[in-house]
């Protein structure tokens, strides 16, 4: 008696779970997009226009961060997994391999445009003229000291970093380590600054074990940090941001950083170009390497702290989930990503026309990406 009861309960539970699996695994009729919070404002605009103009359901766009999006995207093929993931950097080799392992074989890579990262302060304060070297010296955890060995960052004011800068305290509000903006800033600005030191630059280029070891000894890097690729050692040093106070993690909300800059005129903030564009009455973008962050300077790549934006599409889902091809066509149309397109209006920096034609052709032919050139 008791046993039959137990059996019945177990059977019911199994039936329920199977029923729910079959019910919910039924086809999804809207596109599911995940990924970078930097691409999110652009992806959503396209999604909305696509929904309104075609009558298809509007794609659902989640902002999970680039890394989180890759995880979801690469977890498999099937309607319970997202169709598209946005990324504020290129897919990593490890992520590509994870995709392959889980059966996500053919992936179409679409580069959509550029984003500039700005270092800004309140309009009430003097405009700063910085170099990447200044940024590295002001914000890195370890910097080369007088004898060439790396020491804990001693700089407290901008004037100590560079005598032409004002004697205000170094106080920079920026994104936390989970943010793609932080990764890109570390890569573009910090590494770019660290390269200006001969020993660090040599370390970056070296693949010779003995040379790396001697450079590490010269710089005072503990031997435990050794890696056969000098570039890895270099990156670990150059990308480490100081944690002794001058760099303040201000969360992912860039509007909050702008409010804080308004209140504190000595502080600087790091955020994406579109926020500078929308708040040009309150904050000003510092000139970096002699170039001001403007729409045109980011587009022609003369502004040094800019990065490409991507999204990735599962080829296996095209034709299964309705509307993916239409969404791709909308995103890669001139009226969206073109020089005068509506994405430019939203603050995305368009790619040069030749690159647009090339990427557009790849999308049209649904040409899958390969692992070549991934890091």
């Amino acid at each position: 008696m008791k046993n039959t009861h137990k059996l019945a309960i177990a059977g019911a539970a199994m039936a329920l779970s199977m029923a729910s699996t079959t019910v919910f695994a039924a086809a999804r009729d809207y596109i599911s997009i995940v990924g970078s919070s930097t691409v999110y404002p652009f992806s959503t605009v396209v999604a909305e226009r696509f929904g309104k103009s075609t009558g298809n359901p509007t794609p659902k766009v989640e902002s999970t961060g680039t890394g989180g999006g890759m995880k979801l995207f690469c977890s498999g093929v099937g309607s319970e997994n997202p169709d598209i993931t946005n990324a504020s950097r290129q897919m990593k080799k490890s992520e590509f391999e994870m995709c392959q392992e889980n059966g996500v074989k053919d992936i179409i890579e679409v580069q959509v445009g550029f984003d500039g990262i700005v270092v800004a302060n309140s309009k009430e304060s003097p405009l700063m003229k910085l170099t990447r070297k200044d940024l590295y010296l002001a914000l890195a955890a370890k910097v080369p000291g007088a004898d060439g060995k790396l020491i804990d960052n001693p700089y407290k004011t901008w004037k100590e970093v560079n005598p032409t800068l004002p004697a205000t305290k170094i106080e920079v509000l920026g994104p936390p380590p989970t943010s793609g903006t932080r990764d890109a800033f570390a890569e573009l600005a910090m590494e770019g600054g660290a390269k200006k030191f001969a020993d660090l630059a040599a370390l970056r280029g070296s693949t010779d074990e003995a040379e790396i070891k001697s450079l590490m000894a010269k710089l005072g890097i503990p031997a435990g940090a050794f890696n056969a690729k000098g570039k890895k050692v270099f990156q670990a040093v150059a990308q480490a941001i100081r944690e002794d106070g001058p760099y303040i993690e201000a969360g992912e909300n860039d509007n909050l950083i702008i409010q804080k800059l308004e209140a504190n005129h000595d502080a600087m903030g790091i955020f994406g170009f579109s926020f500078l564009d929308q708040n040009s009455d309150k904050v000003q973008g510092s000139i970096i390497e002699g170039i001001a962050p403007e729409f045109d300077t980011i587009a022609d790549k003369s502004y040094s702290v800019s990065r490409p934006l991507f999204f990735y599409v599962k080829k296996a889902h095209i034709g299964v989930i309705p509307g993916i091809d239409g969404f791709l066509a909308e995103f890669t149309s001139e009226k969206a990503w073109g020089g005068d397109g509506y994405l430019a209006e939203k603050g995305m920096i368009p790619m040069p026309a030749a690159l647009r034609t090339e990427v557009g052709a790849n999308v049209l032919n649904q040409k899958p990406m390969t692992a070549d050139g991934l890091h």
């Binding site: 909305e48 929308q278 005068d340």
Partner: protein, 428 residues
């Protein structure tokens, strides 16, 4: 003898004055605490309201729109393909160019067209489909202005001067002309209450999120209330007092204090990864919030069952009622007001929750208004979070306005809880 008595009274009188002073101080501290709290609330409300009230208004521009079949490229309105491809934004462009004929140059023309919301074309399409006889005719319409124009127009009276960051002098000139002709006005923002989310602030509304919240809360209430009450009744009325029930009690109290993000992770692991419930739908949101509110409802239900005097149970048993009859006929009806109050407070908590929803994909951009439990949806607090994170300046006021809407719902629910308690509560 008398001496010592006198000295006693003197001592008492002296200490009396001190005790009075201490009492006064004590009251003053209490009053200060309340004043401080009220001051904070007042500050918060003034900040939100002063920032947000403008979101209930929307700038619109009056234009003569001619539904020119040639511009649209429509010969037959019943041809869906033709209507889908028709250039309705072209009508706006033409009308604006007729209004400002001396504008030439590509960039200037583009600037001119962007005075009006990029969603105006879709509105015109819907109007034409609803009234086919408009084709070929002209009508005068108020169309929503672009968010840059809206922000500029609203900030014109500000003491620091208007926000001109995204409005060139040329556009300011056009707005001035429109203003002199009475063709630009601030009106009630209906879109805010009837539309779903949008990336264009002038087309963004709270209705999609409100419906998402409604569907989610229906699931939460219909699961957590019966389960919570049943658990509370069993634990209070039937369960034996032993080590196991003690353990359960400790666990329930513990769960009530667990950070809500944990429930989100649990929901992701069980409902989405194991049972394959789709992401981002009210069903899964409701299930996760059920887990979160259950402890609250169980605890408050148990408290209100405990408050029913034992004499009522004894009297019922005395006239021959079975234990089930005692519970159903006497204890539950008397405990119901307290349980309902607990449930409403639990629901209010669930309404304001974002953290557990992060994990299950309800923090998403969703334009279409959800029509059921398995359509992707978002909820009010998530909408606030998403708008607070948007770069467009006009979303700042939308954020505050959405907070006001959420606060209004919360105040309504809490008032209902207080009224229910006052109305139905019985004291012994």
């Amino acid at each position: 003898m008398t001496e010592s008595k006198q000295s006693h009274t003197a001592i008492i009188q002296r200490s009396l004055a001190r005790r009075y002073r201490a009492e006064k101080r004590f009251r003053a501290y209490g009053l200060m605490a309340i004043t401080f709290g009220l001051l904070c609330v007042a500050l918060l409300f003034t900040d939100i309201i002063s920032k947000g009230y403008k979101a209930f208004l929307q700038t619109s521009i009056q234009l003569n729109i001619t539904y020119d079949a040639d511009v649209l490229g429509i010969s037959d309105l019943n041809n869906k393909q033709q209507v889908a491809l028709a250039d309705f934004q072209g009508l706006v462009k033409k009308s604006l160019q007729a209004r400002f004929p001396d504008v030439t140059g590509r960039k200037e023309k583009r600037d001119l067209v962007s005075l009006v919301s990029s969603g105006a074309g879709y509105d015109l399409r819907d109007r034409l489909i609803a009234n086919p006889q408009l084709l070929g005719n002209t009508e005068t319409l108020w169309l929503s202005a672009d968010d840059d124009i809206d922000t500029y127009y609203k900030s014109m009276g500000d003491e620091n001067g208007a926000f001109t960051g995204r409005t060139s002098e040329m556009r300011q000139g056009w707005i001035e002309t429109l203003k002199q002709d009475g063709d630009i006005k601030l009106g009630l923002n209906r879109v805010f209450f009837t539309h779903g989310d949008s990336r264009e602030p002038e087309q963004a509304g709270i209705w999609g999120a409100a419906m998402g919240s409604l569907f989610t809360l229906i699931i939460t209430l219909s699961l957590s209330f019966p389960i919570g009450v049943a658990a509370a009744v069993y634990l209070e009325e039937f369960a034996p007092r032993n080590r196991w029930t003690d353990l359960i009690e400790v666990n329930i109290n513990n769960l009530a204090a667990v950070p809500s993000i944990i429930f989100g992770l649990l929901g992701l692991a069980i409902f989405i990864n194991f049972f394959h419930v789709p992401r981002s739908v009210p069903l899964v949101g409701g299930l996760v919030l059920t887990l979160m509110t259950l402890p609250t409802i169980i605890i408050s239900s148990r408290a209100s069952i405990k408050a029913v005097p034992p004499s009522i149970r004894e009297a019922a048993i005395g006239v021959g009622a079975s234990p089930m009859q005692v519970v159903l006929h006497h204890v539950l009806p008397l405990a119901m007001p307290g349980m309902l109050t607990g449930a409403i407070i639990g629901m209010a908590q669930a309404l304001g929750e974002t953290a557990p929803l992060l994990m299950i994909g309800m923090v998403a951009f969703i334009v279409d208004i959800p029509g059921g439990f398995t359509e992707p949806a978002t909820v009010l607090p998530v909408q606030i979070f998403l708008w607070a994170d948007s770069p467009e300046r006009a979303f700042v006021e939308k954020t505050s306005a959405a907070i006001m809407v959420l606060l209004a719902f919360l105040i309504m629910m809490n008032t209902l809880a207080v009224v229910l308690r006052k109305r139905l509560e019985r004291r012994w």
